[in-house]
Amino acid sequence: MAEDKFDAIVVGAGPAGSACAYTLAKQGKNVLLLERGNAAGNKNVSGGRLYTYALELLEPGMYKRAPLQRKIIREQIMLLNERGATTVDYFNPGFGEEVPQSYSVVRAELDEWFAGEVESHGATVASGVLVDELIEENGKIVGIRSGDDEMRADIVVAADGVNSLLGQKAGLFPDVTAHAVGLGVKETIELPDSLISARFGVKDDEGAARVAIGCTDGISGGAFLYTNKGSVSIGIVFNLVQAAKQKRQVQDIFQDFKMHPAIQPLIEGGTSVEYGAHLVPELGYSGIPKRLHREGFLVVGDAAQFGINTGLIIRGMDLAIVSGLAAAQAILKSTKPSETGELYTKQLEALLLTANERAYENFHNIFEISRIFNAYPKLANEAMQFLFTVDGKVPKPMLKGLLGVLRKNATFGQLAADGWKAYRSL
């Protein structure tokens, strides 16, 4: 086949790849965006919620065109024990005003739309193309190989996701390790909008995002629940190292969470329509490879392990978009190929991605406190049970009762140690 030469080849039409290709194409660059799925989004799974600022950074007002689901104005934290649940529910309509802070998203829709936007600016978008190899000449990456086809470009941008086989093939970093990623599993459940709005206490264009702990059999990790238009996304992210040390299949733990007496009524009457799984970068700043570029090659998005997870805030897609934009800006600014990589690093800093990652640098250490995922949710529920129980018997004095619940679930030594660890992580 005849060789094609592009200004840039972007591999992977997720948010990172599309943001990069979009920016380049808009500036008149000859861009090829490749996607291994039959359509963009076909291979992608996320929670998912998108923080809107990233799309605003790419192009003000762009979010209005995007197929976003519900604007999230209710943030909920659920602590579960076997049958009970203690929920913190934070309602803030301000999160939905002006440019709403975040939206729930369905990736099949979002990614396909995004790739369409890229195409509308004149880029070539080719779906159903798996990139097998990088072409290297004189120590530089000069293109890609897919089957018998070779395609060449001044620069190849790897937006090939958390497993980034291309980044490994470029020799930039080794394969991800078990402690660096979490495993997310998810079921999408169709449910009429009227039921979703009523059950989550929102209007039809508004939504809730819920995280839950105490539902992972003690494995470090947590569950999530997002309200979409006409569906609810429900899932769990597991720490893989700990999941591997116990005997229950992760699928079973997830299905038990779905059937928890406090969860099941939220989705009752719904129809399960899809089951997916995906790895999630877990370490934040310390998980980002030291090298994200070499001549002719940049790594963006999940492939660069960009992620922030505080347990309450889970960010990936926004960082993907910002990094894709940073890569595009670096390519546009660059006057010679050898300086593009350094410019990319500078743009990641200029767009505050690096500072955002650094702000939570030690945060993942908090998830090593095992009692967060079992003893403390139990403690919360047992304390609630004590506070709300009325059975005609003489109640224990308040302080004595609460101390009893506390001692049953953790010693003061453990509390002090965990408190210190949490303090050090924050």
Partner: protein, 96 residues
Amino acid sequence: MSIKKLGPEELLALDKFSVDEGHPHILVDKSICATCTAQVCLVVCPARCYRLKDDAVNFEYAGCLECGTCRVMCTGKGVTSWNYPRATFGVTFRCS
């Protein structure tokens, strides 16, 4: 429809797959798996592609969700090669 606990086959039946017959994208060496004592794949594969059959680890690539967990977690090195399925094959997510 009522919500119920779904088994592995029921969960995978929700998804759309196009199986590349005769071309597994992940290669597993069962003789290595036979000597592996950890066998964490049985617990962590979210699609349950790895299961015990006659006390031996059996791998079925047809229902693979392409997440990469087995590649990352295989401590015994029984997963000898891991790739994405050839273009147009594998799972297609439509509403995730």
